[in-house]
């Protein structure tokens, strides 16, 4: 059983086709990058995966649960980090964590223990008492990632989580999330930045709503720089 499987997924905004016949399955315990230029359909795919949108075409299953038929069982297996921050700036890190835990029905000591564990995984344990407003962008993001782990999901979805961060913060986050995958979590990371991808990662290349390739980064680039291959595949649209 794979943590996340997508079959023939399609979605349109009116006449505009955003996703078309998208199929792939994530290998468990792997960091899989969803690589695509802006407008490739990454955000639409994430909205469908988190059930903010629902499509009538195709199927999504999370840890064996069909998202359309058992949405709540499926959602409980997903951890999400959205592109836009979703934080309460005037509350402490711990309060933010507790709020999210409660949304998953976890409270009291259990919530605290899980929050501490998740924060520790992201190297954020000592910041639990700080106000989120006082954290820098990188730490805020790490808190959001930790928060997405409280309910111990099987798959972690991150939609361009490093947008707007400086190089060092980006590196730290890429490092941490790769660490999570090494410890067995299935990670699905949307990006248009090839330097966030390592050779042993899997890559799904999405372009104009279609999957162009799905294989290990090393195989995809075959000794050439990944950026070059990516530009070739997508016609050079918006890549760094």
């Amino acid at each position: 059983m794979t943590a996340l499987e997508i079959k023939d997924l399609g979605y349109s905004y009116g006449a505009k086709r955003a996703l078309d016949g998208v199929s792939f399955a994530l290998r468990p315990g792997k960091f899989t990058a969803l690589l695509g230029p802006n407008g490739a359909g990454k955000s639409t795919l994430f909205a469908l995966l988190t059930r903010l949108f629902v499509s009538r075409e195709g199927r999504i299953s999370v840890a064996g649960h069909d998202l359309a038929r058992e949405p709540r069982a499926a959602l409980s297996k997903i951890g999400v980090v959205f592109q836009q921050p979703t934080l309460d700036l005037d509350m402490s890190v711990m309060r933010n964590m507790r709020y999210f835990a409660a949304l998953h029905g976890i409270s009291g000591r259990d919530a605290d223990a899980r929050s501490e564990r998740a924060l520790a995984q992201l190297g954020m344990a000592e910041r639990a008492g700080e106000k989120v407003r006082d954290l820098n962008g990188g730490h805020r993001r790490r808190m959001e990632i930790a928060r997405a782990l409280i309910h111990e999901p099987e798959v972690l979805l991150l939609d361009e989580p490093t947008v707007g961060l400086d190089f060092k913060s980006r590196q730290a986050i890429v490092e941490h999330v790769h660490g999570l995958a090494e410890r067995g979590l299935t990670v699905f990371w949307a990006t248009h930045l090839v330097d966030e991808i390592r050779d042993y990662d899997d890559v799904v290349v999405l372009h104009r709503g279609r999957v162009l390739a799905h294989r290990a980064a090393a195989k995809l680039r075959e000794g050439r720089p990944l950026a070059e291959v990516f530009i070739e595949m997508t016609g050079g649209e918006d890549v760094r």
Binding site: N38, L52, V54, T86, D88, R95, R98
Partner: protein
């Protein structure tokens, strides 16, 4: 069930904390009705004669008449503001977070609604306390009995706000909502004048007022403040709530797409 309550309490606690942190919002919410009470009502007092109508047992001054309407106004603004913050602040992000919870969506939205209502009730009570300071003292039982009335009317107005946030995108800012929702609802209601006074100028106006759910919210509050139940208004408010909330749920149903109309990419 504890799962559900855990989430609901957390949503309410978060809203309360946010509210405490936004003191300016609290102040603005209080100043608005107080200006009406102190300035507007004082000026109108001479111009407007009010006869004895239920639930009032004696002649009342105009200030006394508009207190329930101003309670309604607080809730109306609160309902619209909390829904608009969903659309325009980073609150949209927190809404997404909310909706990815594995609990049923209607429960999450209802909790969110209840959280907003709790805040509005707090505002109303502070307003009533200040009004008492100005000499507008209501029957003691009224202060307790108005609580359930405020709960129902707050839910109805909050559901309307939620509905607006989920469907209408033309109202690009708060001014739009002021012009097209808050002002018509407030002025075409019994908040400022009783129905019979409206009828003196136009029966059409009176009919519109009689249909306006806000009128019934105000009447429900008015009667409750005098320890009486206005069953017809209660029914009307409950039906409006059911309708608005059901429509808001459709608006937030992912098959129809809450953000779909708003944002592609």
């Amino acid at each position: 069930m504890t799962l559900y309550l855990t989430a609901m309490l957390a949503i309410i606690r978060r809203e309360a904390l946010r509210f405490i942190h936004q003191r300016s919002r609290f102040l603005a919410a209080l100043v608005r009705p107080l200006v009406w009470l102190v300035v507007f009502a004082a000026g109108f007092r001479a111009a407007l004669g009010l006869s004895i109508i239920p639930p009032y047992q004696t002649y009342i001054t105009y200030e006394v008449y508009i207190v329930p309407g101003l309670c309604g106004m607080i809730q109306l603004f609160n309902g619209m503001q909390s829904s608009l913050s969903l659309v325009y602040d980073q609150e949209m992000g927190s809404m997404r977070l909310l909706l990815t919870s594995p609990l049923p969506r209607w429960w999450l939205l209802f909790s969110k609604l209840l959280a907003g209502v709790a805040v509005s009730i707090l505002q109303v009570y502070v307003f009533l306390a200040i009004a008492a300071g100005f000499g507008i003292v209501l029957p003691l039982a009224g202060y307790a009995l108005v609580l359930p009335a405020l709960l129902v009317s707050g839910l109805m107005l909050g559901a309307l706000g939620l509905l607006i946030s989920s469907t209408i995108r033309q109202l690009e800012n708060f001014a739009g909502v002021m012009n097209f929702v808050i002002f018509p609802m407030f002025f075409l209601s019994t908040a400022l004048y009783p129905l019979w006074k409206m009828a003196e100028s136009s029966t059409l106006l009176r009919d519109i007022c009689a249909w306006n759910p806000f009128t019934h919210a105000v009447e429900l509050i008015r009667f409750a403040l005098y320890a009486e139940l206005n069953g017809w208004s209660l029914l009307w408010v409950c039906l409006s709530f059911a309708l608005f909330f059901a429509m808001a749920l459709v608006g937030y149903d992912p098959s129809y797409g809450m953000t779909r109309r708003r944002k592609g990419g």
